[in-house]
Amino acid sequence: MPGLGEIWPFLIQGLAFGAMYAMTGIGLVVLYRTTGVVNLAFGAIGAMAAHIAWTLMGGSLTRPIPVVSGVRILAYPAIVLLCALLTLLYGLWIAPKLARRDPLVKALGMLGAALFLQGLMKKGWDSSKARGILFPQQTFKLGNTVVSTTQILALALSVVVVVAVTTFLNRTATGTAMRAIANDRDVSSLLGVPVRRVETLAWFGSGLLCGVVFLLLPPLFKSLDQGTMTYFVISALAGAVVGQFRSLWVTFWASLGIGVLESALTPFKNSLHFMADYRKLVPYVVAVVAILWISRRRTVVLAGREMQ
């Protein structure tokens, strides 16, 4: 069993990835509550935006990690913009066609979009080649480990996002409309809530969050690995499941916890080495336990109301 000193560097790494899970989870929850769609294309959209930005930065096969300078620095905000636009495009074009369908069908629509984007990426940017985007950063020592400003930025942004989104939902008219739609889309519509406009805003907001995540994720991954980025959303789903796709704060803390636990298992050795080997399963184990916990009570739903 490793001591705290040995685990400390991994806690730092875990907090950074936990923050990424948290922002992704919050993006998923807000969109789901407003539109009923679980955005399984969150990672693919971010990965596509990052690949386009890599090309704009002057990335090439001979220079797989471009050094960004001059006007090319605009490629960083371009990631956020592209994510927002791609997400909005889906929200305006495809999502309305599936609005009345079962949540499972809506999710499969997103999955289809993810696979389509992944196919485009594989075609456009050969996955056998190394690629990466570095974010301008400084590093400093904290105890026996090195911390980067990218990691600190990730954590700080996740806190800002959860506070800002919670405040937005609770204190603004649009936020109230979003919560109303989440409770009952049809009733909200009858009461005059501009459902399409609010949903469009939710798609755009979710896209912006996706952009923020994928501004920082490639530097943390040290690569533009298409599979890892596309399916990052799957691991991030675990935090949203623990938060029952409702509570942003529970999603935030659960995601941080998952990130830290996943990383902290890395240095386990000898008879406990299996824990390091299986650390990637942490999000799935947490999600399965959460689903079992949520489903522990029998509930009968009649006419849209649950009867216990």
Binding site: L104, S223, I234, A238, Y284
Partner: protein, 466 residues
């Protein structure tokens, strides 16, 4: 509550998908790489039958003969090949994290050049590459497809994690002598496989020899992707470390690596201050770990070594000044900027026919295997080119194939096990954009019985006397 349950069900679906998540990419094949097809055949005369390819350069005046290293592609006569293609096939791996498609790509590129220069005595040569998707069942099906459906006359240019292990018995039964770029042990311990490379185990061993020579002390840690062949890949590192009185630990890691910082901190901690760390990864994965080590200030904590795949100029360019001279990469093949004719030809082929491929080891191997196949076929009687038995007889009798790409002449030979490439270079990143020579051709330590037997056979059968 119902809404939340729906979300949970969808989340569960998503989590299930995670199991195949990283492999949805896996199912995409590299596609068949068809170098060329033609219309009707019209072969030209050639010198025939020889199997010692060094003799090809002494064909009688007036006879068509293959270009020697660096002179050009095949017959190098500028005439486009026509007719039924001579089919060559292989099974390769291309999945996220383990993508060897660059090898077959350069082999196909060389064939394309050959087809524009007379082909195989007038007939085009075609390359069919099947992806095994890192699945044994796909590897088995792929071999049967190329042999039984496509009816290839030779199996060559396979860059696969699984082909050797899965298909060794099948190729033996069908009488095919495959030329591969091997990964698992079976590629180097079977009578029916001979590789252009020496594989991850001997290459990692070569890197270990260098880092021990450069002062790695106490403990060697090796890292490798977790696959069916992981145990073999770094096994000889352990044998050598123990011979030198050093502790050894192997880390198998899931790829694609999602948390490179944590992975490399853990590995360096295990090696300890002044220890040695051997990486056995393809460039995309290796680069993640090396950039993470740089960010974490770990470069000078251990002595770094790597097997061949990181001998790639794009890796050197991405690493930059921080790694100048500090990563010892075992190079099974000659330097990418080697001025000798065959390497000049390789660079020209890459530029003209595969511009999207970087200069790298896999690509060099694909090119080299392409040359071996083309020169062997050009030595045969054109009437025998559609007969797999005769083609494979010619292949198994290859010896003293002179090439600028490996340290010693390449050979096949009737042996129980093949490691024809068993001398290496060591290269290091120059801090800007290339891998530069650090140590010229050196002998890989014969720490296992296979290499001891191979070295004995080389002398007895004069397989690589040059």
């Amino acid at each position: 509550m119902r809404v939340r349950r729906s979300a949970s069900v969808i989340a569960a679906l998503g989590l299930l998908l995670a199991a195949c998540g990283s492999s949805s990419d896996d199912t995409a094949t590299t596609g068949d790489s068809t170098a060329s097809t033609g219309d009707t055949g019209a072969g030209t005369a050639t010198s025939g039958g020889g199997t010692d390819t060094s003799s090809s350069e002494s064909a009688a005046p007036g006879e068509s003969k293959p270009a020697t290293a660096g002179e050009g592609c095949g017959l190098d006569n500028g005439e486009k090949a026509t007719g039924d293609p001579v089919k060559v096939g292989n099974v390769s791996t291309s999945v996220p994290g383990i993508d060897f498609s660059g090898g077959p790509a350069l082999m196909a590129a060389y064939f394309e050049c050959v087809n524009e220069n007379g082909g195989i005595n007038g007939r085009p040569i075609e390359l069919i590459t099947e992806n095994d998707n890192l699945k044994p069942e796909d590897a088995a099906a792929a071999a049967r497809k190329i042999v039984e459906s496509d009816k290839v006359v030779a199996v060559a240019g396979g860059f696969s994690i699984l082909d050797c292990a899965v298909n060794a018995d099948y190729y033996k039964e069908k009488g095919y002598y495959a030329i591969v770029a091997g990964v698992p042990a079976e590629c180097f311990s079977s009578p029916n496989f001979a590789a252009a490379n020496m594989g991850p185990a001997y290459s990692a061993l070569g890197a270990t020899q260098v880092i021990v020579e450069k002062g790695a002390k106490n403990k060697i840690v090796s890292m490798i992707p977790r696959t069916a062949t992981s145990a073999y890949g770094n096994s000889l590192v352990g044998v050598y470390a123990k011979e030198k009185g050093l502790e050894w630990e192997n880390i198998e890691i899931d790829v694609p690596i999602a948390d490179p910082n944590a992975a490399i901190i853990d590995a360096v901690n295990r090696a300890g201050e002044g220890g040695g760390l051997i990486l056995n990864f393809t460039p995309p994965e290796g680069l993640k770990l090396l950039k993470a080590a740089e960010e974490q200030g770990l470069i000078d904590k251990v002595v770094w070594g790597s097997s061949t795949p990181l001998n790639d100029n794009s890796v050197a360019a991405a690493l930059g000044q921080a790694w100048a001279g500090k990563l010892n990469v075992n190079a099974e093949l000659s330097l990418l900027d080697d001025p000798r004719p065959e390497m000049e030809l390789y660079r020209q082929i890459s530029k003209d026919y595969a511009p999207d491929q970087p200069l790298g080891s896999f690509q060099q191997m694909g090119f080299m295997i392409g040359r071996i196949v083309v020169h062997t076929l050009l030595e045969m009687d054109p009437a025998d080119l559609d007969d797999p038995v005769k083609v494979n007889d010619a292949i198994v009798n290859i010896k003293n194939f002179n090439t600028d790409i490996v340290c010693k002449p390449w050979y096949y030979g009737k042996l129980d096990a093949h490691v024809p490439n068993n001398w290496d270079y060591n290269v290091v990143p120059n801090g800007t954009d290339i891998m530069e020579l650090d140590k010229d051709c050196f002998e890989i330590a014969a720490v296992d019985d296979i290499l001891k037997d191979v070295r004995k056979a080389e002398v007895e059968q004069k397989l690589n006397v040059g």
